[in-house]
């Protein structure tokens, strides 16, 4: 311990004290009146002292406010809440403000946030309040809320539209494809070569459109037809996907391996579809070698990153984003059949599970698809 030396002690002479008091009063006055925060003292429910900023927010001159009931400036509907919040805050001494609406002299409604503290003023209990104008933020919040709602509504509408379109187009298309096939079956070889060719293009076109509609229907169902999330064993999911692809895997003697895979909260059917599309692609876009597909998973906090790695033909990095768009194809149908919906469906499933999907690849060097799943299972629309 060091003893305080005598020079540290401040001798309070009456003159010095008077000077100090004067100085702090001036400092207080400057602070109070120049503060960018509306500041005021209320006693018996009426303004006793107000600063310039409060007067500015309310649209009055400072002296117009003195003596008037403070609650009178609060929008009628908000008065009870303001009173309750103020009482609560004075008791608890918390510093988290509450928001309400005021009416200015010009009859404009503004959103403000207030905090209050209990003080003594002229030897009697009073309330010291601080108030800031949050109208702009409130308006932004309101707009954001509206835009979000609008977007959700338009998304749902779009999904329903896609569903109805693909569903209702099925019936007439079934007629077209069935009857062209019936024509082909009954009259092939009875008509000339031209007729056979025309019929076969008609049959092929109808068949392709059927596939497109089915995939579009599946795509729209990811959002609207999804099941609630439950705990899903990813090992079982991968095994189910592989069993669905059994014929394709056996046909090209593909090797599909996987590491230890964690459980996640999700929609099991959709996760099977996700793995099935990715493993299926890895086999479909194989190179000259026997296809090898490996699946692994890495957990980091609440997020699991899965990877599906293959030794296939690879993808030019310039397409690494566009391949996830709907009906996007990089090859002719003669080279590789398909509707171009597979990866779009994958992306939609991943996004519903709060994750992202991407690919790392170079032509001729295989591809690795990565996707994340939020383990907490928060569904995103």
């Amino acid at each position: 311990m060091v003893r305080a030396s005598k020079t540290d002690q401040w001798i309070a002479t009456p003159e010095a004290m008077a000077g100090e008091t004067k100085q702090s009063k001036e400092l207080f006055r400057t602070l109070f009146h120049r503060s960018p925060i509306g500041t005021y003292i209320i006693q018996d429910g009426r303004f006793k002292l107000v600063n310039r900023q409060l007067a500015y927010i309310l649209g009055y001159e400072e002296d117009e406010l003195i003596g008037r009931p403070a609650l009178g400036f609060v929008l009628m509907e908000d008065r009870n809440a303001v009173h309750d919040n103020a009482v609560k805050m004075l008791k608890a001494g918390s510093s988290v403000g509450y928001e309400f609406r005021i009416v200015t002299k010009q009859a404009r409604i503004k959103w403000v946030m207030e905090t209050v503290t209990s003080v003594h003023y002229h030897k009697r209990r009073a309330t010291l309040g601080s108030l800031i104008d949050v109208t702009e933020r409130k308006q932004m919040e309101e707009r954001l809320k509206q835009i979000t709602l609008e977007m959700q509504r338009s998304n749902t509408e779009l999904e329903q539209f896609a569903y109805v379109i693909s569903h209702d187009l099925h019936e007439p298309l079934r007629m077209v494809s069935s009857y062209t096939q019936l024509l082909a079956r009954r009259y092939r070889d009875e008509l000339d070569a031209d007729a056979d060719e025309f019929i076969s293009y008609a049959v092929d076109g109808a068949r392709r459109m059927q596939a497109l509609l089915n995939d579009l229907l599946d795509y729209s169902r990811v959002g609207t037809g999804g099941k609630p999330f439950a705990l899903v064993d990813c090992r079982r999911v991968v095994e189910q996907a592989m069993s669905n692809l059994k014929i394709a895997i056996e046909e090209c003697r593909a090797s599909v391996t996987y590491d230890v895979l964690p459980g996640v909260l999700g929609d099991e059917g959709q996760l099977v579809r996700l793995f099935q599309n990715l493993i299926g692609n890895a086999i479909k876009f194989r190179g000259a070698d026997v296809p090898c597909v490996h699946i692994s998973a890495l957990r980091w906090h609440n997020v699991v990153t899965f990877s599906v790695k293959d030794n296939g033909i690879g993808i030019d990095p310039q397409h690494s984003r566009t391949i996830f768009e709907i009906f996007r194809r990089l090859h002719t149908r003669e080279e590789y059949p398909g509707t171009g919906m597979g990866l779009a469906i994958c992306r939609k499933i991943v996004e519903r599970h709060g994750g992202r999907i991407s690919v790392q690849s170079r032509p001729g060097e295989g591809s690795t698809f990565f996707f994340t799943i939020n383990i907490a299972g928060e569904e995103t629309a």
Partner: protein, 150 residues
């Protein structure tokens, strides 16, 4: 010769409002090798009249199999199914729901009403032939349901 051709004709009632589908089913049956006679009803009301042998359907045969479309105007396929399965005389007739709908709700509802089978009409005609063939093959064996003996 196949032994099935020796059996008596399978009486089939097809309930469907879409003439394109009716014709398609007829053609598919033609390509199958089950002896059959196809009767058609264009809506639910006609189907029930046929089954109860009312009005113009006096003397209509009791079908061995009903192929029922779900989406019909007026009396719906579900209502026809309910009528059949609530009727002690008609109850034993096998009913196959044949429809373009993939909706899970519909499938569950029809099984709740004791449909014997639910088949989604395939878009592929070759597949449709196979479907119709497997249905008729399956139900052409028990020609007389036990309830009718009594």
């Amino acid at each position: 010769m196949n032994s099935k051709t020796l059996e008596r004709r399978l009486e089939i009632l097809l309930v469907d409002d879409n003439p394109g589908d009716v014709r398609l089913t007829m053609e598919a049956l033609k390509d199958g090798d089950v002896q059959n006679r196809l009767h058609t009803a264009r809506d639910g009301k006609e189907a029930i009249a046929f089954l109860r042998r009312e009005g113009a359907y006096d003397g209509a045969p009791r079908p061995d199999l009903v192929l029922l479309d779900l989406n019909m105007p007026g009396v719906s396929g579900l209502q026809v199914l309910a009528e059949i399965k609530q009727d002690p005389v008609l109850r034993s007739i096998p009913v196959v729901i044949l429809t373009g709908s993939h909706a899970m709700d519909d499938i569950v509802k029809t099984y709740d009403l004791d449909a014997n089978c639910y088949v989604t009409k395939p878009a592929d005609f070759e597949q449709f032939i196979l479907t119709v063939k497997s249905i008729t093959d399956f139900w052409s064996v028990p020609v007389r349901p036990p309830e009718e003996e009594s």
